[in-house]
């Protein structure tokens, strides 16, 4: 169990909900390169709502479940502090203000996206951003590079979805149960 002394108790009632909203808004607005580094800074270092161990464990749950990690994290921590209303407050913090910013950007894009220099600017960034996804893939793949089974399932997913453009649902329903079953069989 976590050490009671180094955890700050959440404030009660509406104050606590506001705290959650503000904390997750701060995290989601600052989050480039994975909001998670910022989450640690905001939740562990700054507010002391969790200790390191708590944080790591909650993060591993959030990475295990489908969905954006930051959304899952907001739901879990919000629930722990204030139940359903805590989750909703934290979730609102994650997307309310960024959504307004994005709608504004969407508006600007449809008005001005065709202007030559903006078009050039975005073309450059989108090419770089595609490269950045390769980086994420390579980093994730590092620990698996000597595991033939991982390579097999990774390649199968890449060929199915990336190259042949099969529907994701079909590919997942084919590969995931097989891959999980083999992992289960090998660990027992």
């Amino acid at each position: 169990m976590s050490d009671a002394q180094d955890i700050a108790a959440p404030r009660a009632g509406v104050d606590g909900l506001v705290d959650l909203y503000v904390a997750f808004m701060q995290i989601s607005l600052s989050g480039f390169g994975g909001a998670i580094n910022w989450a640690h800074q905001a939740l562990v270092t700054q507010r002391r709502w969790m200790n390191d161990e708590d944080f790591t464990e909650t993060l591993s749950l959030c990475q295990f479940l489908p969905g954006p990690n930051i959304v899952n994290f907001a739901m879990c921590l919000g629930q722990r502090q204030h139940g359903l209303s805590g989750s909703l407050a934290a979730l609102a913090g994650v997307f309310s203000v960024p959504l307004v910013i994005f709608i504004l950007l969407g508006f600007l894009y449809s008005e001005f996206g065709q202007i030559a220099f903006i078009h050039g600017f975005l073309s450059g960034i989108s090419a770089a951003a595609a490269g950045f996804i390769i980086t994420i893939g390579v980093r994730l793949a590092q620990p698996h590079r000597r595991r033939p089974l991982s390579i097999f399932f990774g390649l199968a997913a890449f060929i199915g979805v990336g190259m042949l453009r099969f529907p994701l649902l079909d590919v997942m329903l084919t590969l995931a149960p097989l891959s999980v079953a083999i992992a289960w069989w090998r660990q027992s």
Binding site: P68, V71, G106, G162
Partner: protein, 176 residues
Amino acid sequence: MNQGAILLQIATRFALLSLLSFGGVNVVLPDAHRFVVDTQHWLTDQQFADFFAIAQAAPGPNFLIFALIGWQVAGMLGAITATLAIVVPAGTMAFVVGGLWHRFRNAPWRRATQTGLAPVTIGLVFSSALVLSGAADHDWLTFAVTVVTAVVALGTKLNPLWLFAAAGLLGIVTMS
């Protein structure tokens, strides 16, 4: 197609993607591309690539690329519908499972699930890279930008925003 039917399609399709996004939204981008560009023709390849660029570079979580898609397809309501469709199903699951977590965090099936899903996720991230590069790279220069960014980001701890800024400036200089 009328607005209501489009919103319903956005909601159901993106909700499904929400539940399939093991490892985050980067793994469902190829399927989103397949649906909105190839099947529905709601967006062009270039628009999809542009939205991805904006979502990566703007302040806010990357999953809001779905808000931009929703905005393009059906305006304000589209943006809100798309965002809720991505957030609510996965969020509900996190809420339910989060409460039970302590009961099964050491369960063997949980470890097996995590181990089994990881390589599939990695294959899907590379699928995203391929689809996005296909949408973003239309000549040797943009292709070179993709490759150089990947190499530099792998080799250094440079904040990717600098790479994006450099690539954006290069784009302005060469393409306008």
